[in-house]
Structures are given as C-alpha cells and as structure tokens.
Subunit: 464 residues, 2 copies
C-alpha cells in the first residue's frame, strides 16, 4: 500500500523572529577559567556559550541575531563575524559602550534594529531549544512580553542569585532577586515585543538600567506573562562551580527517558555520556561514531565464530561495548547541534545489520558443537524477530501517524536489552540459548503490537 | 531516535459539505439486467451504484446525503433508510413527483434542505473518490459552481451521449450534448453553491427542466468553472454494455502503476483482479485474504523442505500463487471501501514473515544436499536483505517525511520480483541460487537508497 506521509511544515524560517543575545558583561566570576577570554567565549563541551545560544535559536529557525557586546568588544567583533559565516546566519554585533550600567542598558542598545517580536536571551544560559518553541507558540496568541519560567526552584543551582517572579495566573506581578516567597524562577529566556524598549527608556530616564526595571513598566500594565517550561533543561553559568555542574547537567539532558529501554537508561547511558564527553573533543562525526559502533559489533560477532568459552566471553563484552557506543552518535550530534535525518536513519540501519552479524556469529559458534539444521532455523527465527520488532513499530508509525504502543513490552523488544541478554548468555557460555530467548520475546512483542493496533482500529471504527 | 510523525488532519467530517445524489430516473436502458429493480440498485462488483456513490462521498468525509428519487420511490425509500443505518450516515430520501420532467427538476427538489455548498452527483456514475477531493480543494477558493471534467474524450465510452463543455481557461462557456467541437467532457460530479437553485428556478419558469439549462444561467454570469480530473477514473453507466465495461474499468483502476513492481503490474495484477472479482462475492474479509495468502506462502515454503525436484517446482508455483493472491486483499478492500490502516499494516507484516518462511524452506531443501554452514550464512544474508529492503524504505518515509527514492532499483527490490525469481529458480531446480541472487539485489538496493538519502541530506544542507 502506498502511503504519503504528510510533509512536516519546517518553514519556521519564514516566520521565526530575530534574537537579541546579551553578551556584554565581564563575567568576572568565571575569570581565569578561560585564559582571560570574555565569558561568552567560555567553552562548554566543545562549543562556546555564545555558539550554543546561537545554535539553539537556529534550531527553531532563527536566522538573524543581534549580539550586544561591551566587555572586550575588540575580541568579540571578529569572533562574531566568523561565527555568523561559519553557522550561515546573520550576526550583527551591537556595541554598548555603557554596558557596565546594567543589562537593561545593553538590551536597549538593540532597539534601533528591532521592529517585530523577538527572542531576548542571555549568552550565559544553557537551555533546551524546545523552550524557545514553547515561547514561540505562546507568542502567537498574545501581544504581551513572555518569560520562560521554571516552577521547580529545587532544580535551580545558586537559587539565591537567581531572579524570581511572583505570578497571578500566568501574569507576572513581581520580578526581582530578593523575593523571599515566589512562584517561579526566571530562566533568562524571553519572547518580547518592541514595547519593551519603551519601558526600558522610561526606566533609563529614571536612572534605572537593569532589565528587571524595564519589565516593571510592563508589569504595571499587566503586559508581562510567564510560560512554564515543565521539566525542560536550562542552566545559568556564572561561576566555575556552576560551569562544572552545567556541563554535567547538559550531558544528563542527553538521556531520553521516554524512548530508552531499561538497559540503555540505567547502564548504557551513564557510560556512553562519559565516552561522548571524550568524543566531543575529537573531530569524529556522529556518523563516524555510528560506523565505529557498527565495526565493534561486527568484530564482536566474528569473535563468536571460534566458539570457545574465552572467545565467547570476549565477544559478549565487545558487542555490549559497541551497544554502549551506539548511544554516543546521537549524544555527540545533539551536543554539537549536528542531528540529521540521515544520521538517525543510517544509525538504525547499521543497528539492524549489526543484529544480523551477531545472530550469524552466535549461531555459527553454537553450530560447531551442535551441527544440526535446527540451530540455523533458530537463527532465522531469532533474526526475523529482531528486525521485525523494529519494522513493525516503523510501519505502525506510518500507518497510524502516531507513536507505536509503548509500555513494558515495548521497552523489552529494544536493541539495548537484546544485546545485553546475549552478553549475559555469553558470560554464562550460553549465548545461543539467550539469543533464542530474546528472539522469542521479540515475536511476543510483535504479536502484542498487532493486537494493540487491531484494538485501536476497532476503537476508531466505533467512534466513526 | 524518537520521531513524532505529524498527525494527519483527518477531520474532513468537520467541514465536509453534504451531497445531493440524483437517483430519480428510470434507467430504462438497463432494464432487464436487474430483475426490474430501479437503476440505482444495479449491483457493480458487490455494491449497488447508489451504495458506491454514498461510500465514495463518505471517503472524503461526507456524512449527510439527500437522495432525490422518483421512479419506484416505494422501493427506494426503505432501501435508503436501511442503507443510511448500515453505513452510519444520514440519508434523507427526497421525492420528486415531477422526475420525468428532467434532472434539473430533480436537483431543484433538494433546494429546501441546502443552505451551504454541496456536492451534486448522479447515482449512475462510478468514480475515483479523489475527484471529490479535487473539487473540495478547488471549492475552498471560490464561490463559483464547479464541475469535474475529463480532458481525454478518447477515454469516454459512448461519447455521443456524453455532455460536453467548452472552456475559456477554467471558465465554462458552453455545456450540452450536441457540441461538435469541445474542450472536455462533463463527469457528472459537481461542487455547487446554493445559487444553483436560483438558476434552476429561472430555467424552470422558462419551461426548461434540465440541469444543463440551469447551469446556462451560471454560465452567463461566468460563475461556473471546470476542475480537470487528470487520469482519474470515472464511468457513466447507462446501458448493459457500459455496465460491463464499467465493471472492467473499475477492476482495472485497482492497479497501482506507481507502486507495483514490474511482476506485480504485468503478471500478478491481471490474475489477482480476476480472483478479486470472485472473492468480492464471498463473505471473506480483506484481512482474511491476507491470512489466506500467508498460509499459501507457508505451505509453499514447507514444500521446499523435502528437497526433490518435483516438490521444488510445486513449492515455487505455490509461493507465486500466494504472491498473486497477496494483491487481492487490497483490491477487495478498495472495491468494498473497507481499506483500513490495520489491514495495510497486517498485510505487510505477514509478507515479511512469509519471506522468512520461504528463505528457511529453500535453504533447508538446499542444505539436504549441501550440508555446510555457509548455506545458512547465505540464508541469513538473504533474509536480512529481504526484510531490510522494506525496513529501509519505511525508515526513510519516517525520517524524511516523504516517499522513498523510486526508480528502477526501487522497483527491483519489491516482494513481487523476489518471489517470482525464486519461483523461476525452483522451475530450474535452482531455488537457493536464485534466492541468493535476489538477496544480493536487495542489499544493493539498500546501499543505493542510503546513497540517495545521503545526497538528499547534503542538498538540504546546501539550501539552508
């Protein structure tokens, strides 16, 4: 049957607003860590803070940037020009000679360039780009300024130093650092209207140069609203300690609790994150890592062929290691904003070929001591289960245009568990039997998904 | 990686217009074929003409029908009431005592019920529901009445009897049966505004009772436009001969020239259509046919096990027959308007399991005379090629949100060819070797798709 998958609208670029990034401050608390470079140029897992901010915006389609600079403007301007060229975006350096007055003064210096709604962000904040998408969506239905807020103050490092807000519904009624009781924490990510500049001018004329002072004007008119970020990741980097923690939190944010199987979540990710932290410093590409993991899997599979116990143990450990490294391609891609459709597709295809090699290797090793055709029929049975467990899910996504049924069984027919069980079997000198076991489990999972799909069809019929 | 496939908007029902179906005439030219039943109740491949019209509209979301009846209204009313209940749609029988005056008079009798744009169709036309979708899309941008027209008069049976139109761009400037030179043929499928009824009233007051006379009023105001149907299927059923041809044409329209492989198109479809013509008269469901074809494939696969030449030939023929029957599930589903997401999913999963059985059977038969492990490694190599050729396409559709690369190689890695080549190999007593050959071809196709995907990624990068 022919399916035309609806084209995803990816023309965000047509409508995405520009972004103003405040990068003027000295960031003296980070001094010394960076060889005296300005704070925006501090590297976190291979990319500078500023580069991360720009790339995060680019992920939601922003192509035009106004970066307000002050401290070490001489060093910043050539960096920004080169960065714009390298990332194929427009970056306009905006110098604020009065940057020491406060961040309101810096924001105001972007005013001459802005005629439409815009993102406003601090260069020293790491965050999940999905937060910008939340702001963009919320911004479509309002002419108020919006601030992304975190309702979990326990998540916030150096809370004393954070800016807090008090809310009335989603309307912000107070903003400041010294609020003793508050509803949420300011993440430093804004979606603003040009009216902000008028409010900043009013504050400036009163001698107030902080961003918060500007927002006070909007608060008085109830034109400043909060958008809650839920569990999404953000981190304010101010001190060496927070830089350290931010790096850890960024690595942590690479986990995909909803998608990873149990072994991936509890065993593979903690290790693969550590490996990714090293790989990020090398020039190896995410697709290169996929190939590396695949090569490991093939080597492990071939090591099953000789059939002896020592080889079997080693083979099991090698395929488990390759399964761990298999998580690094996506991690490095996300850390470098290099995720691609091809990369995801390539990785999943290599995984299936890797499974094939493991089944062939384990079966060959077993066949040496059990030379019956049934060994190979078992291999074919298992291999079909392995590949079909993924295939059935993909077909489900295409036919039903929604994610396949999850649940416990959904987690048990993933590759992380297959490889882990075969590795355990190898340690016990029973790789073939353990392979049959996960093969059988895969077929059970396939049957279960078919039942779920059938049920869903009947439900839809009843509704219509 | 986690992919959220965009949900297809399927809420046509919210916006779909009602349909007026003209079913008042006597259809005397069909008399005798149907035991004297009124023409709308003439059966074509298991469903009456009227049922086909209603189900075709339902496919694009129409849930409210006004069926104008005249001839044998006493027989039609209970039929329509039962039909509405069975198909879960609202069908209002509208009696036109003056039906003999003309089809304009019949259309006009639906006027009291219609306040919004509506489909207008003749009950004796078979057509591809996609034409209604074309009208609906075109109707969103105009307040004119629309007529679906066929620009290929050579496709039209009994052209003399057809209504023709003359066009100025897409504006209809003449309509009638006697035009000697014309631009297109009237398919009898309209998307109308309630203004049509005013035009029909004006014509009626002048003693004109045909639909064409009503449309003349719209033509004078240039408020009547044509929508070209391209190569889409339609057929006007008036005589026993045209009924016969329409049945053939409807069966023919089940082919999917863009999706079917070469063997499916030139060999399997012509046979499967004949089988579907028989199956449509039985109560067996499309999913039942999928299971039937799967059972045939398993039986054929098992027949390879004994390994003798006679068994091999028989096995080859059985799997080829099952591959032919594999086309019938979709055909019967489309003929009965029973296509379902689950059905398509179920069918494709059974196909992959069928492939597994064939590979196991052929390899076992070969292994009896060639007892080497390499026979099974070849089996594993082939099986991965077979399943992955489909898997890689599905992954492509999900990642790129578009159809996978087509072309010659795309056609050569489909199941129809795999099974056919293995059957040919079986006839030549070389099923294993031919299986390896198509296995190799599958891997080449997979590599080719990967290259295409990689190229597409690079193109997209360059554009961004």
């Amino acid at each position: 049957m022919h399916i035309t998958v609806e084209k995803t609208i990816q023309s965000f670029a047509d409508v995405a607003p520009p972004a103003v990034i405040l990068a003027a401050g000295e960031g003296h608390r980070l001094n010394g860590l960076n060889g005296g470079a300005p704070k925006p140029l501090t590297a976190v897992l291979g990319l500078t803070l500023l580069e991360r901010a720009v790339l995060s915006c680019k992920e939601v389609g922003v192509m035009e940037f106004f970066v307000v600079i002050g401290y070490h403007a001489d060093k910043m301007i050539p960096y920004l020009n080169a960065l714009g060229q390298r990332l194929s975006v427009s970056i306009k350096p905006v110098e604020n000679p009065n940057w020491r007055e406060g961040n309101g003064s810096s924001a105001l210096s972007a005013a001459p360039y802005i005629r439409s709604p815009f993102f406003l962000l601090m260069c020293d904040h790491l965050f999940d780009p999905a937060i910008l998408r939340l702001l963009l969506t919320a911004g479509k239905n309002t002419t108020d300024c919006l601030l992304a807020v975190d309702r979990h103050p326990d998540h916030v490092f150096e809370l004393d130093d954070a800016t807090k807000v008090i809310l009335d519904g989603d309307v912000i009624t107070e903003i400041g650092k010294r609020e003793a009781s508050f509803d949420a924490v300011d993440t430093g990510l804004f979606f603003c209207q040009p009216t902000l500049f008028e409010a900043l001018e009013v504050a400036r004329d009163k001698g107030e140069h902080s961003l918060s002072a500007g927002f006070m004007g909007l608060i008085r008119n109830r034109e400043f609203r909060a958008v809650t970020i839920g569990e999404r990741f953000w981190f304010d980097v101010d001190t060496p300690k927070s830089l350290n923690l931010a790096t850890k939190a960024l690595l942590q944010s690479l986990s995909k609790p909803n998608e990873d199987g149990f072994i991936a979540h509890y065993l593979n990710r903690p290790v693969s994150r550590r490996i990714s932290k090293i790989l990020i410093r090398t020039p190896v590409s995410p697709n290169g890592i996929s190939l590396l993991s695949f090569a490991g899997c093939i080597i492990g599979a071939v090591m099953f062929y000789p059939g002896g116990y020592i080889w079997t143990i080693l083979a099991g450990l090698v395929i488990q290691l390759s399964s761990i490294v298999d998580g690094c391609d996506g991690e490095v891609a996300r850390l470098r904003f290099q995720s691609s459709k091809f990369g995801g597709w390539f990785d999943t295809i290599l995984d299936r070929y890797g499974d094939t090699a493991v089944v062939a290797g384990v079966s060959f090793g077993y066949w040496l001591t059990h030379p019956h055709a049934t060994v190979w029929l078992g291999a074919i049975f298992t291999l079909t289960g392995f590949i079909m467990a993924s295939y059935v899910k993909k077909e489900f996504m295409i036919r039903y245009q929604s994610n396949p049924p999850g649940g416990l069984l959904g987690k048990l027919i993933k590759r992380d568990l297959r490889i882990f069980v075969i590795m355990l079997g190898a340690l016990a000198n029973r790789p073939y039997e353990s392979m049959l076991l996960v093969g059988l489990l895969s077929h059970v999972g396939i049957g279960w998904m078919l039942l779920k799909g059938h049920k869903q069809m009947n439900l839809q019929r009843q509704r219509s």
